[in-house]
């Protein structure tokens, strides 16, 4: 019996460790793939050069050799990002960066992921030692970056911030590409105003208190509600969590108070809120009693908009790579960047005007 049990447990543990390793290997495949292509590149370039030297008669051979020869001038970028598992925003963000900073576009990119500031700083130091040309950074924490950025500057590494700003002297980085959460909130509130409802009784579901997205999106609503005399029935944090949002909306339904707008600061919470409405038989969306507002343009959310179940979804643009690409191209060609802080274009989608094309293009 004991032996059997021990055997079973060993099996369980190996199973678990295999799963654990599997997880690791899945994460490491990307960097591993990078290094293999790097290694493969060098000999390819060599042989190409050889063929160019020895057989300069063949035009075709030189044509072929051009592409690998150009790889010698790849721009080396080190990208430090948060864990792609963090959210679908981050997954889309990471995929977008990977798609842009590839060899076909003339980049040799290495990636490092961490949600911890110290680990990110270590990765940055590693990249500086490796002699990257550009360091792209989405910092986990706003502070603690001064010395490593000074190192970067001393070694001629240019730094571009994306998604998140840091508390460091602006001279230490070339540019910062960020979302303006307040503008996202303002856009949504502006849309609410344009609906000209007879009265506004709003359930306001907030994200994790103190996060940039929560502050920007909450302030937009709170200030306009005060100015316009809108009634906030409930204002509560659901910590970005669908089930907590469901409970909060359920508690308002139980209390019997009437409401006609739900302003949820991300799509997951809007989803939870709608689940609560469904179980109470309250209609929502384009033809419904309650207007549903979400943020982050998750694919499922845009599909809900398309189906008319929700009313509005604000974008938090994760696609910074084209902006970064432009900046690098400008800097490489000797140009200067006129503005340090670049705020991205962000859209707001209305259920009445959204198309399938929008869902495919902007859904993350």
């Amino acid at each position: 019996m004991k032996k059997k049990l021990a055997l079973l447990l060993v099996a369980g543990m190996t199973m678990a460790s295999v799963i654990g390793c599997g997880g690791n290997s899945a994460e490491t495949t990307a960097p591993a793939a990078d290094t293999t292509t790097d290694e493969a590149e060098a000999p390819a370039a060599d042989t190409a050069a050889d063929t160019a030297d020895t057989a300069d008669t063949a035009d075709a051979a030189t044509d072929e050799a051009e592409a690998p020869a150009a790889s010698g001038e790849l721009i080396k970028v080190g990208i430090i990002n948060n864990d792609p598992n963090e959210s679908s925003y981050r997954t889309a963000n990471d995929a977008d960066l990977k798609a842009t900073f590839c060899e076909e576009n003339g980049y040799d990119a290495s990636f490092a992921y961490s949600l911890k500031n110290e680990e990110q700083i270590n990765a940055a130091q590693q990249f500086i030692q490796d002699g990257v040309d550009y360091l792209l950074l989405s910092a986990a924490d706003t502070s603690g970056w001064d010395s490593v950025l000074q190192d970067a500057q001393a070694n001629g590494v240019r730094v571009i911030l994306f998604d998140r700003t840091i508390d460091a002297d602006p001279s230490l980085y070339e540019a910062s590409i960020v979302s303006d959460m307040r503008a996202e909130g303002d856009k949504a509130v502006e849309w609410m105003k344009s609906q000209n409802l007879d009265e506004y009784n709003i359930i306001h579901i907030q994200g994790v208190m103190g996060s940039a997205a929560q502050i920007g999106r909450s302030d937009a609503l709170t200030e306009t509600a005060a100015a316009e005399g809108w009634n906030i029935v409930m204002e509560q944090t659901a910590n970005w969590n669908a089930e907590e949002a469901q409970q909060i909306v359920q508690s308002v339904i139980d209390s019997g108070e009437s409401f006609n707008v739900i302003y949820a600061e991300n799509d997951n919470m809007a989803q939870g809120a709608v689940a609560a409405l469904d179980s109470a038989g309250i209609t929502h969306g384009v033809d419904g009693d309650v207007k549903i507002i979400g943020f982050d343009t998750n694919k499922f959310a845009l599909e809900e908009l398309l189906a008319g179940n929700w009313n509005y979804d604000g974008q938090c643009n994760p696609f910074q790579s084209s902006y970064i690409n432009d900046i690098i191209k400008t800097l490489e060609s000797g140009g200067t960047i006129s503005e340090k802080t670049i705020i991205m274009d962000e859209k707001g989608f209305d259920a009445e005007t959204i198309t399938q094309e929008d869902v495919d293009t902007y859904g993350i």
């Binding site: 447990l9 598992n85 969590n241 508690s251 139980d254 209390s255 179980s279 109470a280």
Partner: protein
């Protein structure tokens, strides 16, 4: 008169020593507070949900509905606490793993299709196996490697959500099948939320198991004194692992309910911090967190008290910034009251009063 009085204080002294005393008092106080502040808190009405079924609605129903997950976890957590003299803090991450795995099985790797690739029950049973394996992993670390439960489970606490995301290639599967939403919602024709039924089923099963097997005796024996348990022919390691595996089973059930509620999953926030609430439920139930004797019923009551408190705080619109502080104050009060030293002090006080009365 004198006699009656001393009889009353003796009764009070006895009552204070009862394990039921603290959770019951908390429940009564919360209920009284709500009753006085707004009797509508207890109003139950029948509404029609969007699927066209008549369902019960009202705060008491909401508490029973949303407290159920916690109650199920409290069952497993009580056993783990009793046998291993420590707590499992990886419960929330394990719920993410189980939920993600169940969704992966249901949608067959195609996250957008929304159709079911296998019966829900099969996916659930496979989810149970996975969750129990992870439970066994924790159990082995605790039982054979003698690692403190909180440290051992820290591994899964840290890695669990990434593993959960990895199961689904970091996509967010959405199940559009209506039957799947019955588990976290309502079965057509039954006006009571399904999660409550599931919780009741779990309670019945664990009650029967505790009554008709030696699980309680063995678990408590290991928790009270491992060496004497071994000398009496028990295998403490096996018992400890068993308790973690049972918790794994509870985790799988909760995972199923959680992913069914919104027919989707968010790896980073699903069942966030639920482990702390589960541990709190065990503590509120008057169980010693250092193992040994346990009372399952009071743990389950503790879970529903936590939900009662949450719903009360929502009801009175406590500001978001202050919500954790309010919760903390109530929790401190309850935990201090249920601490054995405080209970002893009160029962001594009662005795003194009795002596004075006799004099």
């Amino acid at each position: 008169m004198q006699n009656h009085k001393s009889g009353f204080s003796a009764f009070l002294g006895k009552l204070v020593r009862q394990q039921y005393f603290i959770p019951l008092t908390a429940l009564v106080l919360l209920a009284l507070f709500n009753l006085i502040a707004d009797p509508a808190f207890f109003k139950i009405s029948i509404t029609t949900n969007s699927a066209g079924n008549a369902v019960l609605s009202g705060t008491p129903i909401t508490i029973l509905d949303y407290g159920s997950e916690l109650a199920i976890l409290a069952i497993g957590m009580t056993l783990v606490t009793s046998a291993s003299k420590g707590q499992d803090i990886s419960v929330g991450a394990a719920v993410a793993i189980a939920g993600s795995f169940i969704l992966r099985m249901l949608c067959g790797g195609d996250s957008s299709s929304g159709t079911l690739h296998m019966p829900i029950i099969c996916a659930f049973l496979l989810g149970c196996v996975v969750a129990m394996l992870f439970g066994a992993f924790n159990g082995v670390l605790v039982a054979f490697f003698k690692i403190q439960p909180m440290i051992a489970t820290l591994i899964l606490y840290t890695a669990g959500r990434s593993i959960a995301a990895w199961f689904n290639n970091n996509e967010l599967p959405i199940i559009k099948d209506a039957t799947f939403s019955y588990i976290g919602g309502f079965i057509p024709g039954i006006p009571i939320p399904t999660p409550f039924f599931i919780a009741v089923l779990c309670m019945v099963i664990i009650t029967l198991v505790l009554r008709f097997t030696n699980l309680r005796l063995y678990t408590e024996a290991v928790g009270i004194n491992e060496n004497s348990a071994r000398l009496n022919g028990l295998n403490p390691s096996a018992i400890k692992i068993l308790s973690f595996v049972i918790l794994g089973l509870c985790v799988a059930v909760v995972g199923l309910i959680k992913v069914s509620r919104v027919s989707s999953i968010n790896y980073s926030v699903i069942a966030k911090d639920i482990e702390m609430d589960a541990i709190l439920a065990v503590a509120l139930g008057g169980n010693s967190l250092s193992g040994g004797k346990f009372n399952m019923a009071t743990s389950v009551m503790g879970a529903y008290i936590i939900q009662f408190l949450t719903q009360t705080l929502y009801k009175y619109k406590v500001p978001s910034e202050a919500l954790p502080a309010y919760k903390a104050v109530v929790v401190i009060l309850l935990v201090v009251m249920s601490a054995p030293t405080v209970r002893e002090y009160f029962s001594n006080l009662m005795k003194k009063i009795k002596v004075k009365e006799a004099a």
